[in-house]
């Protein structure tokens, strides 16, 4: 990789970082607006037009609040916990292919932080590390309720990681690759559209696996109906009971970044990533009727694909919020029973089913 290309790639990494933060910021706004809509309220409308400056107001509030350290807390780990939650959340977006390649003359810019051939495992690893931030913060607070929240988070994440990994294995059986970029390309066909193409997206080949995956990602991101680690009716505030000011903000932020990354991973693995229907028709039309060069047409397709992927991501984020304001919280024993006795057997069944269908050539 030449130095200018490395520079562009660095810029892409920075943009991915910034976009993750921006989306997390406005997810807090979206959460309020959607909650208001679902509960037939007005929602935020004071700060700026349509309340669009509400996240800024929140940030100012969080920054100016008192920085509080509980007595007997382990100060170093108390600060380290939220930082770790934030870092692991941000790291996982590095391998997600947000778009295909933009070609400007000699320079090719890949709209992806970094391409590694075990991208799926990398995301999975970062997700499994995400629980440390919660555990360390909860333990360092020196508070029973925080500790209970941390313990709940740990056991919940480990339980649901298993089913999530098993759901990913079924995707791997179809894709033969762990690279998220490769998996995206496999879900597209460059030939003119035929009706069979609607089965190209992995969700069509893996409907059961997708359902398992989305349930597990709710549990992994600690969102309702699985937000037991911060269940306020039982645990006051769970793992962040003792947190105030921006340290609290970092935890909330990390949750929204996790939601964003989970949405992006689902869009890439199951919903075709940056592919969209009729893309080869659009490219051919741009080349033949509008007289554009193939490279320019491909760049336009890439931009469209980027927009398409973000549309998919936003609809998943909306789904996360929709569920939050619709379903009540599970009980803890129900959560464990769902994870161990329903989702894991179902995921193993899904693997066997996928194997059978591949053997008989129904899907490939």
């Amino acid at each position: 990789m030449t130095l200018p290309a490395l520079g562009w790639q660095g810029l892409v990494v920075l943009v991915v970082f910034g976009v993750s933060l921006l989306i997390a910021t406005y997810s807090t706004y979206a959460e309020r607006v959607i909650a208001a809509f679902l509960q037939d309220r007005v929602g935020p409308d004071r700060a700026g037009p349509f309340g669009l400056l509400q996240p800024l107001a929140d940030a100012v509030k969080l920054f100016t609040k008192e920085e509080f350290f509980p007595a007997g807390a382990n100060r170093a780990l108390f600060v380290f916990g939220p930082c770790l939650a934030m870092v692991t959340a941000l790291m996982s977006s590095a391998v997600i292919p947000f778009g295909n390649v933009l070609q400007f003359g000699e320079t090719a810019i890949y709209l992806q932080g970094i391409e590694i051939n075990v991208g799926m495992l990398y995301v999975f690893g970062m997700v499994s590390l995400g629980v440390y931030g919660i555990m360390i913060g909860g333990w360092a607070s020196n508070n029973k309720f925080s500790l209970l929240g941390a313990i709940r988070a740990a056991s919940q994440n480990i339980s649901y990681e298993l089913a999530m990994g098993l759901a990913l294995i079924a995707v791997l059986m179809i894709s033969h690759s762990l690279s998220l970029r490769e998996i995206t390309f496999q879900q597209a066909s460059d030939a003119p559209f035929v009706w069979r193409d609607i089965f190209n997206w992995n969700v069509m080949k893996q409907p059961l696996g997708f359902v398992i995956f989305i349930v597990c990602s709710f549990a992994e991101t600690n969102r309702t109906p699985f937000d037991l680690p911060e269940c306020e009716t039982e645990l006051i505030g769970g793992y962040h009971t003792e947190y105030s000011s921006m340290k609290m903000g970092l935890y909330l932020f990390a949750e929204y970044i996790n939601v964003f990354v989970a949405s992006a991973v689902m869009s890439v693995l199951y919903f075709g990533g940056f592919n969209f229907p009729f893309q080869s028709e659009l490219r051919n039309w741009l080349v033949s009727s509008r007289g554009l060069e193939l490279v320019t047409a491909q760049n336009i397709i890439t931009i469209f694909g980027l927009v398409g992927l973000f549309a998919k991501i936003f609809s998943f984020i909306f789904f996360f919020m929709w569920v939050r304001w619709t379903l009540p919280r599970f009980r803890y024993d129900q959560l464990m029973r769902l994870g161990w006795t329903i989702l894991i057997p179902l995921a193993i069944f899904n693997i066997m089913l996928t194997g059978g269908l591949i053997t008989f050539g129904v899907i490939k």
């Binding site: 075990v118 495992l121 690893g125 499994s128 590390l129 555990m135 333990w139 740990a154 056991s155 480990i158």
Partner: protein, 168 residues
């Protein structure tokens, strides 16, 4: 090379931290850092799959359980058991002789280099690893999975409620 030296430095430092830290939770965190540096070493050896799996299994799952148990026990400096001097002395002798044997055994080892003509840089990639595991080492691989299954069944048996035991 500088990356290797840096990783080795951090690995040794955090491994020392595991042993020397007074607080068990700090020890666990140092151990996690050690696993990360080991994963870095795997990456330098171009074994991406091994690096990712090391993070997922050791740092992501096993250490979470370690931390889980240690948090429950609520160990800290006050509850640290104080061993008699004789035990400490014996431990130092035993550890020192192990170190002596290791150093003596490793002193004259000539590390086998690699043959640049037959070296395959893709050897650590996931598909190559899978082929080796399922062709060359199929039996040990399956035996290891049976071992894990046995451990799993055993823990389920231990955790099972006996008849007549109270449900909460």
């Amino acid at each position: 090379m500088s990356l290797f030296l840096f990783l080795s430095f951090v690995a040794l430092l955090s491994a020392l931290g595991v042993v020397l830290a007074k607080n068990p939770v700090h020890s666990v965190l140092f151990l996690i850092l050690t696993f990360f540096t080991l994963s870095g070493h795997y990456l330098l050896l171009n074994a991406q799959f091994l690096a990712a799996v090391n993070i997922i299994v050791y740092a992501g799952a096993i250490m979470v359980l370690f931390l889980f148990v240690i948090m429950f026990l609520n160990l800290n400096e006050d509850t640290e058991p104080h061993k008699p001097a004789l035990a400490k002395f014996a431990a130092a002798i035993a550890g020192g002789s192990l170190l002596l044997i290791l150093v003596a055994a490793m002193r004259n080892v000539n590390p086998a280099g690699y043959d640049p003509t037959s070296f395959d840089s893709q050897i650590g990639m996931v598909d190559k690893l899978g082929l080796v595991l399922f062709q060359q080492y199929a039996l040990p691989f399956e035996l290891a999975s049976i071992l894990l299954l046995t451990a799993m069944v055993g823990s389920v048996m231990l955790g099972k409620r006996e008849t007549g035991e109270r449900n909460f």
